[in-house]
């Protein structure tokens, strides 16, 4: 049984009936990669729930007062409340500013794609950089999100490039002549400090290429071995 991401999700979310659940558990026993992907998904879920919690300090909420007292909305000014800050809202502001800062620092419009193949900083990132964007990363304008082993055997990577104009996402696959950019989406997000949204078009491209996302250990070994599988 192929433990694809949708099946793992349904398993995590308790959406499988008992027979299917048992099938998945049997398959997991034989599939260390599947177990690791499952653990990573669960860990990410936990972090989201823990680090973006609900703020239950409703006592200070003027919206609550408005509902309970039935005052008209126009009479209740929605001023900023210095005394009350949901943790996650402040964190959102921090994240937005951090990425806005990165956007402002990166300059240059050097073409990263030459006749369909990645060059310059993009090529270097695809060839050498481990996946996983971290704030303050020295990689600067280019970061790699994840690596897949495509159905046709090529290694393909989802990358993001920041420039003055905005953020580009693309997918490139490693071939003998170099990293071929098979798709990219240069849609600019015009929301100021926000990070640009990820591109559903790139997700579709990854679906078309097929294959599974590589685990960090596997990816690390590939990078160390210059992309030669064992």
């Amino acid at each position: 049984m192929e433990l694809n991401d949708e099946l793992l999700c349904a398993y995590i979310d308790g959406e499988l009936d008992a027979p299917r659940r048992a099938q998945v558990e049997r398959a997991l026993e034989q599939d260390a990669g599947g177990r690791l992907r499952l653990a990573r998904m669960r860990a990410a879920d936990e972090r989201l729930r823990k680090e973006i919690p609900v703020d239950s300090n409703a006592a200070a909420d003027p919206l609550a007062q408005f509902i309970l007292q039935g005052e008209s909305a126009a009479a209740t000014p929605r001023a900023r409340l210095a005394a009350w800050r949901p943790t996650f809202a402040l964190a959102a502001g921090c994240a937005a500013l951090a990425f806005g800062f990165l956007l402002a620092r990166v300059g240059g419009g050097s073409s990263a794609v030459h006749e369909g193949f990645a060059s310059g900083r993009l090529q270097a990132a695809l060839e050498h950089a481990p996946s996983g964007a971290r704030l303050g990363d020295e990689a600067g304008a280019t970061s790699v999100v994840l690596t897949v082993n495509a159905r046709d055997g090529r290694y393909c990577r989802l990358y993001r490039q920041r420039a003055e104009a905005g953020v580009t996402e693309g997918v490139a696959c490693r071939e003998s002549a170099g990293w071929r950019v098979v798709a990219f989406d240069g849609t600019v997000d015009d929301a100021g400090y926000h990070t640009a949204g990820a591109s559903p078009l790139m997700d579709h491209e990854l679906d078309e290429l097929g294959g599974a996302t590589l685990e960090p250990a596997v990816e690390k070994a590939l990078l160390a071995g210059e992309w030669t599988a064992r």
Binding site: E6, D13, M41, D61, A73, A92, G197, P200
Partner: protein, 167 residues
């Protein structure tokens, strides 16, 4: 005796979080939430007692954002002074702050349609069918968006606890 107004007030914290995940902006989230509350109070007669109030309100919020408010979204607001979030153990709070920024940033990078599904299924614990009803899309679409979202999130947030080796 339970009252619609009191039930609505109880929902506000969760609704506010959902609004923030949708809009990625504290200010836009408050806009969506207030507009949704106003609409909920105006149309309280159309809510069927015994059905889920949260699903009803979340659907109102999602529709308002999609149909009316998204076009007028504002830019992010300036960061408040960092001193506001320091606690007694400065180092511990700083680490926690970094982690919160990472989770928020990872979530913010998802396309809006994936953020909505993550918010409902992972953060609110709703079933696929409940999420499908709120977002007015098929369950199959919920599943594919969830799988894509989790693949991205696992890549940035998913450092797992140690895995036992297979026997």
């Amino acid at each position: 005796m339970p009252s619609f107004a009191r039930d609505l007030v109880e929902l506000l914290p969760r609704a506010r979080r959902f609004a923030w995940v949708l809009t990625r902006s504290h200010h836009d989230a408050e806009d969506v939430l207030q507009a949704a509350v106003e609409r909920a109070l105006r149309h309280s007669g159309t809510w069927e007692r015994g059905t889920r109030l949260d699903s009803w309100l979340f659907r109102i919020m999602q529709n308002l954002w999609r149909d009316e408010l998204r076009a007028h979204r504002r830019k992010a607001e300036p960061l408040e002074a960092a001193g506001e979030i320091m606690g007694t153990d400065g180092r511990e709070v700083a680490m926690k702050h970094i982690q919160t920024v990472q989770a928020s940033a990872a979530l913010s990078q998802l396309p809006e349609e994936q953020r909505a599904v993550i918010a409902l299924v992972v953060m609110e614990g709703m079933s696929y069918q409940e999420a499908a009803d709120i977002l007015e899309i098929p369950v199959g679409t919920i599943m594919s968006r969830l799988a894509r979202a989790r693949a991205r999130l696992a890549a940035t947030l998913g450092d797992p606890p140690p895995v036992r080796a297979a026997k």
